[in-house]
Point group: D3
Chain length 119, copies 6
Amino acid sequence: MGNYAEFVRFRQEMNKKILEQGNLDIKRFFALDEKTYQEGSLSKKVKELMGLSASMVLRCDDCIAYHIIQARAAGASRDELFETFSISLLAGGSIVIPHLRRAVALMEELEKSEDVSRE
Amino acid sequence: MGNYAEFVRFRQEMNKKILEQGNLDIKRFFALDEKTYQEGSLSKKVKELMGLSASMVLRCDDCIAYHIIQARAAGASRDELFETFSISLLAGGSIVIPHLRRAVALMEELEKSEDVSRE
Amino acid sequence: MGNYAEFVRFRQEMNKKILEQGNLDIKRFFALDEKTYQEGSLSKKVKELMGLSASMVLRCDDCIAYHIIQARAAGASRDELFETFSISLLAGGSIVIPHLRRAVALMEELEKSEDVSRE
Amino acid sequence: MGNYAEFVRFRQEMNKKILEQGNLDIKRFFALDEKTYQEGSLSKKVKELMGLSASMVLRCDDCIAYHIIQARAAGASRDELFETFSISLLAGGSIVIPHLRRAVALMEELEKSEDVSRE
Amino acid sequence: MGNYAEFVRFRQEMNKKILEQGNLDIKRFFALDEKTYQEGSLSKKVKELMGLSASMVLRCDDCIAYHIIQARAAGASRDELFETFSISLLAGGSIVIPHLRRAVALMEELEKSEDVSRE
Amino acid sequence: MGNYAEFVRFRQEMNKKILEQGNLDIKRFFALDEKTYQEGSLSKKVKELMGLSASMVLRCDDCIAYHIIQARAAGASRDELFETFSISLLAGGSIVIPHLRRAVALMEELEKSEDVSRE
């Protein structure tokens, strides 16, 4: 996952390059991917936690990082995140554990950066 | 997935046989799996929808059937189920579609059986 | 995979129901999925064979059936299909074999139905 | 998984057709796949149980059926099979459970057919 | 994926060590894996693009890097690579995106090194 | 996988943080995961090699590292480890190869550290 700032920077830089390439199908997929997580019958927060559990059982560190950031921005509490981790762990098994370790490391990094910005 | 009644019957019969075998680790896993979906910081309904999205991206028809049944029993609406399907489809890709077809067929079967029992 | 006619019928019936539900994200995904396989820098045939190899390593019988049908309609020969199987087998391992067996059974069913329609 | 006799028949019939097609890479893969499970530093029984746990976490019913049959033929006991199930369940998570149910159903079918042939 | 030169070096060094160990089954698998991608009814280029799409949906960064290098050496254009990415994205879903970002980063590194060697 | 010492340190530090959070379901899962690998009808060594093959086909580098360390501590020889690799490679396909390279690199690091501690 690398550290938080580097993850955000690389994601932004490469997404820009991918979209500039001009492949229409990829562009549409990216747009649709964002639209799907907007508030609907289910709240933005619940949708992001769902994206998080899907990312954990599929074991994608970058996707986990992204949905933790989004879920927290949408108001998810630490307990809600850990209950999401717990469901993902039971559904996906012990192979989820290394990703859980990296997820918790990211959460701590995020919380520290929020503390700093609050001072 | 077979039809709904047969799914429920086979699930019940085989779970009983598995637990009677006396392997303690498996017994504990089954108990823990049930406990994880109980009401907590997240509602039972949200947890079941999360279990559903995890099952869809991991493409497990029986798990999908089980969580649809549980989510509906916990009050999930048709729209909430379809938003869960939509997130699962975007996260897991077009290989989720055959499971989506079987999920919708099960939903219709469930709704019909509810109509009958209401008469 | 069931037999060929039943596969086509169920696919058509359920896709119709899914699209009628009116979830826009799912509708757009279905449209995009079809568009991606259209002739481009790569031919339709090559794209379908690519969809086939992706489906085999992800072990999705319905997706395999669909892409075999499409690849044959786009002119793929038996040898080209078997070379696609061979790459999928090496990349995805022996767990691909049961899907390969069902793929070959479908191919034979397709070839027989073509022989009949030619008479 | 269907029932045991049908699984064995279809497997045999389709493997024959696949090998007759004359794709050399596929033929070599099939030969290598068989060779790998032969007695070595690890016993045949341990290798089959390993193949079983790999098949369970990858959730391939036909592969599970095949390795249960082979493991039993190599002398694996019911307890050894259930300990293999237990490790697979913990590693692969609750999505392994539907496959576990079908695995136990097959085991019972196998045991019954052995009882009959012993009389 | 690390950077291109390091990927090639580590791959070479470790493959050598693996083959020197003298496990015959592993040696044969490596040989067969290489043979499968040779020109046949399908061209080398198409086979490498197929290996690329299989690697993307299975989300294996090193495999993606390897097949991009091979596909370019076999003459695949930027557009053909992006159409392969597009099919992989639709088939495998948004969890493919982080691998797509790293794939494009590698492509750019490759193109730069070619520009340098051309001067 | 990073290097061996860093892997062990990060694993220990983060497991501690995860367990301190007080989510009971996660705590129970961790306890159950450890219990499952204890000596039973199958030896500790065989169970760890099984955990290793499951980790390889699921392609989890940290899980592979952990089970190699545990299997060696339980007395597994180099040949037994390579036969486990070989089964995993055949079952999981060529996408297992990058993980095999990192597994062998870890094994060599482990063997060197044992040589040093013996002097």
